[in-house]
């Protein structure tokens, strides 16, 4: 039981470590190879290959966006610049127009007179409005304003005291605007032209101002033209037209102090809307642009949001420059990429699933025959040699299986042959063993027997000698002699028997008929005396034997037949050959006393004598058997019983049992 259990354990596959079937191995290998390859492919496609001139889609997309941003930024910069140029041109045209200059000169004069007369405020305004010059001038300015549609209002003021001499808004005439920042700049800094942003002192609205000095005919600047532009109305429009920036795109304009000029698209981080000209942007593109640099950058904007940005500097005058930033959120920019990653992963997973299915299918196909083979091998291990894998697939496994099957056939043949051989050898060994047993038995029994006799009669001899019984003494000595002789004979025969195997001489081709005739000559006298008729088959074969030994065998058989003729009135001995199952069997048959079937085996035993009265020690047939065995044959006796005669048969191997 225990053996069997351990035997089974050996065949268990999970004896050592983790057992992985080929299928799971293939799944793991192919799965990991595929996943790694797919990941590498997607990653390289997305982000390029390091140290190689292959740019990933991410980078390509980013440079596309940058190109686009550059285009938009350049476009906007141009448009803004032109727009501002146009506005400056407007101012120049107006300030240098003869009509305006003459009107302004007369109005200035009028205002100066009125102020000198102490007239100011509404009265001055009324005085002005009465003037034809004023009416013509304001009419012209209004025409300009409505024609261009850009200007919020247009004013002309005295350069020296800031009194408004004309305005597209009548109620402003006569007002003093000398306190406004822009105005003071043009007075104090002596510029001919100023572009400025700031609060309109009359309305408080943030505005872009274009101021230009108006010169008298003498050439002195005596008045200033102030053109108000609401930046949100026009610049913002410019900034935000043109598209190409997607949903999150934004263009923003900042002044030299990085303060925004227009309102922002998004609220600030604290949720409030940034106020133009007050809110200063800290984000890098805006700062760079304000500093006069141009370029592109991937960074964070004023909200802290990751963006791609192009920044430009727009130089308006030698003193004034604006910064322009065109930016777009990276979230939006890379959304399609993310989407494509998602699709790629989706498609990749689909591929992986298909591949898994294929792998399972293939591995099952591949391993089916292997599993069958191992099942067969296990059955063989359990001792069933009749199984065959019988796999006919035309691949290596098929080859292996057919090799396995043919190996199995060979093993089976060997096994059968070996079993036969083992059986034969076992029978042989058993018979040898029995013989050996008989031999020991003989030594212990038959050799001791004469010793008992000798010692016993020696003892009796002493007593008889003491008594002086001569007759008995003679008898005792006789017994002792006989026993000693017997013992000698036994020892000789034992020795002979033991040497039969060794003393078989050279085997030669011998005619059986010749041998028989030779033996018959030896017993001729007795045969004649008893009147025994001898019949010999005429055409007995030639045998390959040790001639002397076979003579001994035949002598034994014929001698026994003669000896045990009994009271047969027509004694007869027949010597011949017959075929038993294709085997040549030679026999010596007599019609003597016969042997009862139960003694048929015994007669060949050592020292087994059926007839105690017969001479010999019972070793003859034992020697015969030994000789025949050494010649690769068998010997046996056939007899139907007492008085039925007996037939001694033997066979001889074709090669005489030699090797």
């Amino acid at each position: 039981m225990n053996d069997k259990a351990t035997g089974n354990n050996v065949s268990e596959p999970d004896k050592k470590g983790l057992f992985l079937s080929i299928r799971s191995k293939m799944l793991i290998y192919f799965g990991s190879i595929f996943t790694i390859a797919l990941t590498l492919f997607v990653l390289s496609e997305m982000f390029g290959i390091p140290f190689m001139n292959f740019k990933g889609e991410y980078e390509r997309h980013q440079s596309d966006v940058f190109r686009n941003l550059n285009l938009v930024a350049d476009l906007k910069k141009e448009r803004l610049k032109r727009w501002v140029e146009e506005r400056r041109g407007d101012a120049r045209v107006l300030s240098e127009s003869t009509m305006i200059r003459s009107h302004v000169a007369s109005l200035l004069h009028l205002v100066d007179e009125n102020i000198a007369n102490g007239i100011a405020g509404n009265e001055l305004q009324i005085e002005l409005q009465k003037e034809i010059s004023y009416q013509g001038l304001t009419q012209y300015l209004n025409l300009v304003r409505t024609t261009y549609g850009v200007y919020d209002k247009i004013q002309i003021a005295n350069l020296l005291n800031g009194t408004v001499v004309a305005s597209t808004r009548d109620q402003e005439s006569g007002m003093n605007i000398s306190q406004s920042d822009s105005f003071s700049k043009i007075i104090h800094q002596g510029y001919d032209e100023i572009i400025d942003v700031g609060k309109d002192p009359s309305s408080g609205i943030l505005k872009l101002f274009i101021l230009r000095a108006i010169h008298s005919y003498d050439g002195d600047a005596h008045a200033v033209l102030i053109m108000h532009i609401n930046p949100d109305d026009f610049i913002k429009h410019t900034l935000h037209t043109g598209g190409g920036l997607g949903q999150t795109g934004e263009a923003l304009l900042i002044d030299q102090d990085v303060k925004i000029i227009t309102t922002l698209k998004y609220p600030l981080e604290d949720g409030t809307a940034a106020i133009p000209f007050e809110y200063q942007i800290k984000a890098r593109p805006a700062v760079f642009a304000a500093q006069g640099q141009e370029g592109i950058i991937a960074t964070e904007d004023y909200r802290g949001e990751a963006v791609l940005a192009a920044y430009r500097h727009i130089r308006l005058t030698s003193e004034l420059g604006w910064g322009l930033v065109v930016k777009r959120d990276q979230t939006e920019i890379f959304a399609p990429l993310r989407e494509s990653i998602f699709y790629r992963i989706f498609v990749g997973s689909l591929c992986a699933l298909v591949m898994l299915g294929l792998t399972i299918f293939i591995s099952r196909n591949l391993t089916r025959s292997i599993r069958r083979l191992s099942k067969t091998a296990r059955e063989v291990e359990e001792g069933n040699l009749d199984v065959r894998a019988s796999i006919t697939t035309s691949d290596e496994v098929g080859l292996l299986a057919s090799a396995f099957d043919s190996m199995l056939s060979h093993v089976q043949d060997w096994n059968t042959a070996l079993n036969k051989q083992v059986k034969a050898r076992t029978v042989e060994l058993e018979s040898k063993n029995a013989e050996l047993e008989r031999y020991t038995y003989t030594v212990s029994h038959d050799l001791k027997s004469p010793l008992v006799t000798i010692k016993g009669f020696l003892g009796l001899l002493e007593a008889d000698m003491a008594k002086g019984d001569a007759e008995r003494i003679k008898k005792d000595v006789g017994h002792i002699h006989n026993a000693a002789d017997k013992m000698n004979q036994l020892l000789d025969e034992l020795l002979e028997l033991s040497r039969v195997g060794e003393v078989i001489g050279i085997r030669k081709k011998v005619s059986l008929n010749d041998l028989i005739n030779e033996v018959l000559k030896l017993v001729e006298g007795q045969i004649k005396k008893l009147g025994i008729e001898v019949e010999i088959a005429p055409d007995l074969p030639v045998m390959y034997v040790d001639r002397l030994r076979l003579v001994e065998v035949l002598q034994n058989f014929i001698g026994n037949a003669v000896k045990h003729m009994g009271n047969q009135s027509k004694p007869c001995i027949e010597i011949g050959a017959r075929q038993d199952n294709g085997e040549d069997v030679y026999y010596v048959r007599d019609n003597g006393i016969g042997i009862e079937p139960r003694y048929h085996e015994n007669v060949f035993g050592l020292f087994n004598k059926l007839d105690k009265a017969s001479e010999g020690t019972g070793v003859g047939l034992a020697i015969v058997r030994r000789i025949i065995e050494v010649h690769g044959g068998r010997v046996w006796v056939e007899s139907k019983g007492k008085e039925k005669g007996s037939t001694f048969c033997f066979t001889i191997a074709k090669n005489g049992g030699g090797t």
Binding site: S444, D446, K448, S449, T453, K455, G456, F457, L458
Partner: protein
């Protein structure tokens, strides 16, 4: 002598011995010790069974009185001693007869087989004459004098 009779019958021993010298040793020993007054000697197994089963030459019961003991050698011509023993122990009329194996063989197989066939005793012939003599004396005393016989004293 009273020793020579059991219930008024003469003490009979059947000696089955193929070796005439041994037979003579036993017989003379018995005679010297005056153990049995009737020793019947047969020299092969077949003759022993003929005697016991009263067959052939021994058909007459007067010629073949039931022995008080069978002294049986093992290696016998025709019918082996063990066969004889087996026969004795399988025949109802004979099975009670004390059967003593008396042989030169001390082979374990023989001992085992003999007891397997219900031998009453297994004795090995001593080579030493004094011991042989002593054993004969002892067998006589033990089996024929001391021993109670199955068919009653």
């Amino acid at each position: 002598m009273a020793k020579h009779e059991i219930n008024g019958e003469p003490v009979t021993v059947l000696l089955v011995e193929d070796n005439p010298a041994h037979a003579e040793l036993v017989i003379r020993s018995f005679e010297d010790h005056r153990i049995a007054n009737r020793i019947h000697h047969v020299s092969d197994g077949e003759e022993a069974l003929d005697y016991l089963l009263r067959r052939g030459a021994y058909a007459d019961p007067a010629k073949s009185p039931t022995p008080h003991m069978v002294l049986l050698d093992l290696r016998l011509p025709r019918i082996d001693g063990l066969e004889v023993l087996k026969e004795i122990k399988s025949v109802k009329e004979l099975e009670k007869i004390p059967t003593v194996i008396f042989t030169t063989s001390s082979a374990e197989v023989d001992v085992a087989k003999a007891y397997g066939y219900h031998a009453n005793s297994y004795l090995v012939k001593p080579i030493n004459f004094e011991k042989f003599n002593q054993l004969m004396d002892d067998i006589g005393f033990y089996w024929l004098a001391w021993n109670h016989h199955p068919w009653g004293d």
